[in-house]
Symmetry: D2
Subunit: 409 residues, 4 copies
């Protein structure tokens, strides 16, 4: 008979309840001196709760003033570190991402366009971005938005940010090379990179003042991805995937955060893990960065409309770039947005492209001077037919997404 | 009863028999003054034969001297132009790529590593490339190579190069912006772009001397992709896909070539098309570049091993780049090659990655300073298990691919 | 800012806490006179808790005595009925199965082989079945079993049993035709069908004695599938699917139960729904039975080993059957079990085939006298390679599943 | 350089040119005494030409009189036998189906409804079938039909009929069990099975009179599938699949025919094979019937509409059948036809369902008394939207398929 005694829930090892900067088990810097907050054995199944990357600053409402005024000094918040018994530098930490779900009590997330001068984003300059957002309601495996009617898609829930702790040597390498880039670029807007910064540094544990100061002074910001993983925003590193991380410190010290429902639908929620260790895996697999096996349950939308982009015309100037896949990627995205604007508003089109399960492929980076990148938009997420048809596309009355209370877009 | 009278083959409108530079219906420059070689009606199904991009310079043999000495002045050879009745500037030309097959009489193709100073390639500098190649035998829908044992994969046969003819204005724009890039970059090796060049210019038709000189002087090289399509090397623009091209000249003047079996397995063969026209489609679909619907029969290998790359360390120098997806893509590819070298030789690993049905996704280009790109290698193409396992990977005795007759690699 | 006020959980409309036969909102007969237990509006998202089909009789332990002694008089238990405002006979009730999950507090399920004389099953006679079971541990989206080592698969979670309430006329039709079959078959073992039965009849509501007696006397057993849906055990009617049911009574009166994790991993848990109504849908869609759209997140295992079966040799007697797809299906399954027995024990092989995400296709039922049915076993669920290889398959030391405490198998 | 000398086509070992009953290398009976027509070595790639199953009796025209009057005494015609060097009874013959294509010169096929009294078919009695047909034009990987406008689908080209030769013992078993079925069923229409028949027997080789008579007297008809493979009509045993056959006679003696483009689009064409042998494979893999690995390039249409069927009401009589998957399959198909008749004519709907890449799954055969079978119709093959919508479906003016010249349907 099924009983309480033979039905044991998997334990939740980090719980989030308070404001981010008072929460134990949350940190926002990478540093080898942040001790593990919890320790697990290989094979154990456990859950970790995560706040959203901003620390709950964004609300489920219909204007974007919270996006406009978001405080970014403390981002991104991570849950951890989690030590795995027996892991040592040079090993490979195998992490099974068994599930990623929103909280039952909080079935929504958001996609934001950030202001050019506060957060920026892919088209911050092209669009002279003003804050806007779409709230997405989670309905089981699907999300819909009252701010972008007519679409519904299944989530590729994933941690935007997951990685092992760097060693002191690796951290020094990061700080050196990123410092050089900052030095070269001067006062770019938006900034090219973010140096260590004591203000806003938070480790989620009671540590000595010296250590806290050292972490504030040296700790790498959690914004970008690096050799240990970090903020790679890889949609397909989703629930069900198996990831192989290089280990740089004793215990591996895994941290995770920035949960997303799909493309960039930011959310708070729960991630379920189990881990194992392959001794000497860094050498065995030539592991310079994480590698992973994707999930068998990533949504399958076989019909797609694909947009191409080439490395020309970064800011509308028609300039020829030299085999630049970033420019080509932007062009493909701009071409998709232009297409979607035949149906949606400009802000809706931009937000939809950020949120949806798109796939962007690097086609070619060998045919000088043009890199070619494609972006595939699944057709199955639209309630209406958006295929290219004889009669063209029909602009629907889909209103507008959440914008600033002063009405500026 | 089935009879000859009720069984009519689809016509072959361009046939290739002679050396490339004597062949009618072949050209290697983009120019509005190259007249259509054939004209078709919308809805008609027809076949076009193509030579490989080098014009049959590479042989089915076991050394790579032909790669080393390849003459690149005439590349890439295209079949066409094909005019479609009724197409006018501003229209959208819908092209169904109904099939792409090798010739029955020539069931093989090749993947090459070109010399740093003659052809280059993605890792020409990192590898100080010496000529190497793999011959792939086509066995129905599959390819195998005696030069890279232990792999077999289904083809995503596609035209590497397909596009409509540019208008005079568009051609002028190309020449201007590419000229500026060349001017800025001076004598880079390999070159950043290729200006118009009379030597080797070929149009495949008997035209007046003035026109030929004009085309030689102004005609855009067929090497890169541009707004009309061109050499985008998009694996998924494969047989079965439907492509929407902007039309710039009366008749659209479609040309095609550079057939590939999969990633970069170069081949000669036959492409089957049908076309239709959407009047005013450029405006209707905001068509700055081609868009397309992928094929329902692209091979499905659900299990994949995914490699990550970030925008650091372009040439082994550890340098930090600013959100550069090209660098991140290269890193992901180098990580995959390093992994494959645990099993194959360096040249085999590089060639295999060029040939196989890999998929490279742009993960993120918003988390300064690191772009993150992933590269997915399907596991189903290997006869042996290449998953990361407790015991590591086993170096097999897989010999070596075709190398130079002087033995230099 | 995210607040409690703007974060509202979807409501749970039926909760299960007590023994099945004391639980409100649970019933085990189909009858139009069972009133709705809850009523919802179209568009509302809501959750329904379900007990497992046996009412929690099976435990998470290592012998199968609970399977051997299971009491089947009360099966299958359903949660409901759920009325949808506005639904009327002749309408189509659209049901979105938004999610299906086990309880957090009960992360396990089971697959059972039932005794020939108590529950039976597909091969009850061929195997002279003795009770056995495998317990499956749910680890996020995956299940593994200590009783069948070496396999892990992602769940296609689904309600085995879901349907709308029959009208009095439809119920009478069922009782008549099934009664005739029972009359014809006499005392078959296992029985060919189950007539209405007052003993064990349960409706989960306080109703008058007359009504309860009528329901006991007339109510259709919940065991088979019928025109309203019911126990179809359609694996692909899974979370994420959209189902269109014919409506036979005012409110439609939907009921659901018999949750499964994958093939036949029985579990208790939570199903999330939303509904809508298409007026007159039965006529609009010629709706004789439910139709549905599958989920975009059903697990994708592209590599499969497929077994064939023909309509011969039902019970090892070599007899030729006339185009009988049931016999062909059994043969295909027996062929798969024989193959798996090269690696696993007989009981493990049988249970694995019951639990795994297999797909069985009807190949042909036109080539007299043999129907041909195939059964596809995904290769990606095995930790070891089970492909047909030169050296054959290797019997692993995988122990045995849970068997009877008297050791009889 | 690519040359004629290094470009060798795969050989075509059986060519078809004459009427079927004069053609060498064609036979229409299974018998161990038919000697191999060609012999191949393991590993060799070779091509085999096949006529369609009727021997070219059906024409590319617009009436169905040829279907009405088809002569079925000689069907199905097979190409072969093909001996593989080294194969012996008890071995497993591995057959790679490398490609299956129509002849270039004959880019069309057909789907037929056969008369109740001449050929029959799945719904011969329900529909009181009158001859009808649809001609499908092959356009690269796609087929379209002027007789069923508005659909286009990619082919899952496959041999409907492929198998190894039976031993004398196996043949005797077939003849005995099928003879018993025929004896039991008397004069059913359509017949339940077909006994050996000298009239129309053809072996495609010059053999002695005694042998020819023996083959005529004993040879199994090629209509059904059996333990050796045969006419299983398994759509997914398509080009790109790898099949494992049991070997019953020295050389295995493989034969093949009845090529199809997709569901049941009959065609003549070319199949490309290679083979290998696993010694003792019958025992190693418990090989009672063939098993196979599906192709990686089977078309992927993720969006599907699924119809359910239960084992009730075989001939419109409402009768309850006992767990009969054949009846359930028919019900699912009839439900799909009823749905499609909202758009197409009855004959078009029936033919479309026969031709299209549908998938029929056996859901459950354990919930007495109803087997449940589903049939999935891919949505991507329709040019118009056939989803269940608020407004219902729209009957299009799609004319009618090819019918008898006397106009009877």
């Amino acid at each position: 008979m099924a009983t309480k005694e033979n039905s044991i829930a998997h334990p939740t090892l980090i719980q989030v309840r308070f404001p981010a900067n008072q929460q134990k088990g949350i940190h926002n810097r990478w540093h080898p001196d942040i001790p593990p907050f919890v320790t697990v054995k290989p094979g154990e199944v456990f859950k970790i709760e995560c706040i959203d990357w901003t620390g709950a600053q964004i609300g489920n409402n219909d204007n974007s003033d919270d996006i406009k005024n978001v405080n970014l000094t403390g981002v991104h918040n991570l849950s951890g570190p989690i030590a795995v018994e027996g892991a040592e530098p040079g090993d490979c930490l195998v992490v099974d991402i068994l599930d990623v779900t929103p909280f039952d009590k909080m079935p929504w997330g958001y996609t934001g366009i950030f202001e050019l001068n506060n957060g920026g984003g892919l088209f911050a300059r092209e669009f002279n971005s003003k804050a806007a957002k779409a709230i997405w309601d989670f309905k089981g495996i699907f999300a819909t938005s009252r701010h972008i009617p007519g679409v519904r898609f299944a989530g590729v829930s994933h941690p935007g940010l997951i990685g092992t702790a760097p060693s002191a040597e690796l951290l020094a390498t990061w700080n050196k090379r990123e410092g050089q880039l900052i030095a070269e670029c001067g006062n770019c807007v938006p900034p090219v990179a973010f140096p260590p910064e004591s203000v806003g540094s938070y480790v989620g544990q009671d540590l000595g003042k010296d250590v806290l100061e050292k972490i504030g002074r040296e700790g790498a910001r959690t914004i970008p991805g690096r050799e240990h993983g970090g903020n790679c925003d890889i949609k397909n590193l989703s629930r069900g995937s198996r990831c192989y991380f290089p280990v740089f410190v004793k215990g591996a010290n895994l941290s995770v955060g920035d949960l997303s429902f799909c493309g960039a639908i930011e959310m708070a929620g729960i991630i379920t893990f189990s881990t194992s260790i392959i001794k000497g895996g860094v050498e065995k697999f030539a592991l310079k960065q994480p590698i992973f096996l994707p999930s068998p349950i990533d949504p399958l939308y076989s019909a797609k409309l694909v947009f191409e982009g080439i490395s020309v015309d970064y800011h509308g100037d028609g300039k020829q770039y030299n085999m630049d896949a970033t420019v080509a990627y932007k062009q493909a995205a701009l071409n998709a947005i232009a297409y979607l604007q035949k149906v949606f508003s400009r802000e809706q089109a931009y937000l939809l492209l950020s949120a949806a399960p798109i796939e962007s492929h690097v086609g070619a980076v060998v045919d000088s001077p043009n890199a070619c990148v494609t972006l595939a938009l699944p057709l199955g997420i639209f309630e209406h037919d958006i295929l290219p048809k004889e009669d063209g596309l029909t602009k629907k009355d889909f209103g507008q997404c959440a914008i600033r209370s002063d009405g500026v877009v």
